[in-house]
Symmetry: C2
Subunit: 185 residues, 2 copies
């Protein structure tokens, strides 16, 4: 139970300027996933954009320094209904990506559909279903609040599970290439 | 001629991930504007987004460290035809804003229309007209290349001229408030 030497620690980020969801989970495929930290970094809407970006940077850097993740997983930003919101989300994601790159920490990005599919089995699951699965996987007594925090946890879980699946596929591909090149020789 | 104690030094930024235009100008209203530096920070399109943001951060930080501007003026990003481009532009702008905030340097943002109007007198001027005015104002023998660099110079010139106009309006407003409150007493 709990974290072992094979566990990976993932910082999941649901980017946003007003409330940026952050969750740190430990785990590995087939083993218990445990929650280390969950919350939101908030910046006041009456601050200038550059002060908000700076506040977000400081918040995420503190969490990174405290939890030292192996990977940072960020929700991939797409066009949203509101262009202004999409821009702010893209900028918040940029801050998270920049901090990870500066620290030499691996980055992964997942679309909302990938996250939902990884956590619930369906890419079209609704928010309530995602929150229910996050609550179950992390063995919590109730869903994390606010929704941005629960979403960050879902992204981190997606990375643990999908990242492992991608690594297995990659290993299988390399093995198959080796076998084929052995056959050619 | 040249820079004086009253001149302001502006770093103008035309945000972009592939080519980010940067220009440093010195000047004050009614005086010669002089170009200190002009160029582009480029990041390779085959790098990951986080490595590109990091490369941009390093490039802008070097220019800031070398030229020590009083203000950073960034083109305000709006919806563009291509959502992917708009996101990348917003993220590049976020990097510039973040660096300025971290260094405690004032930030200003201007829309493309404001920049064109400040430099050419018309908010609907085309690229060639803006480049021609930048060339004339900076007393260059030919237009700066690439276009992103010329645009960054236009943003910096806009900040010198508009910033001064805004400061005058602000001073006039304060004076008028003082006069009114003196009249009330």
């Amino acid at each position: 139970m709990g974290s072992t030497a094979n566990d990976r620690r993932v910082l999941g980020i649901d980017p946003g300027l007003t409330r940026c969801g952050v969750a740190v989970v430990d785990g590995a495929p087939g083993r218990k996933v445990s929650l280390r930290f969950i919350g939101v970094v908030q910046t006041a809407t009456n601050l200038s954009i550059e002060q908000r970006l700076l506040g977000l940077e400081q918040g995420i850097e503190e969490i990174m320094a405290e939890h030292n993740p192996d990977v940072v997983a960020v929700e991939r930003v797409f066009s949203q209904h509101n262009v202004r919101t999409a821009m702010a989300t893209a900028q918040a994601a940029a801050v998270a990506l920049l901090i990870a790159a500066r620290s030499g920490i691996d980055v992964a990005m997942h679309t909302p559909t990938e996250v939902k599919a990884a956590v619930t089995g369906s890419g079209r699951a609704d928010k309530a279903q995602v929150a229910a699965m996050v609550t179950r996987v992390l063995a919590l007594s109730s869903a994390p609040k606010p929704a941005d925090a629960a979403d960050a946890a879902a992204i981190a879980i997606c990375q643990l599970w999908r990242g492992a699946a991608t690594a297995r596929l990659e290993a299988a591909r390399k093995r198959s290439v080796r076998e084929r090149s052995a056959a050619v020789r």
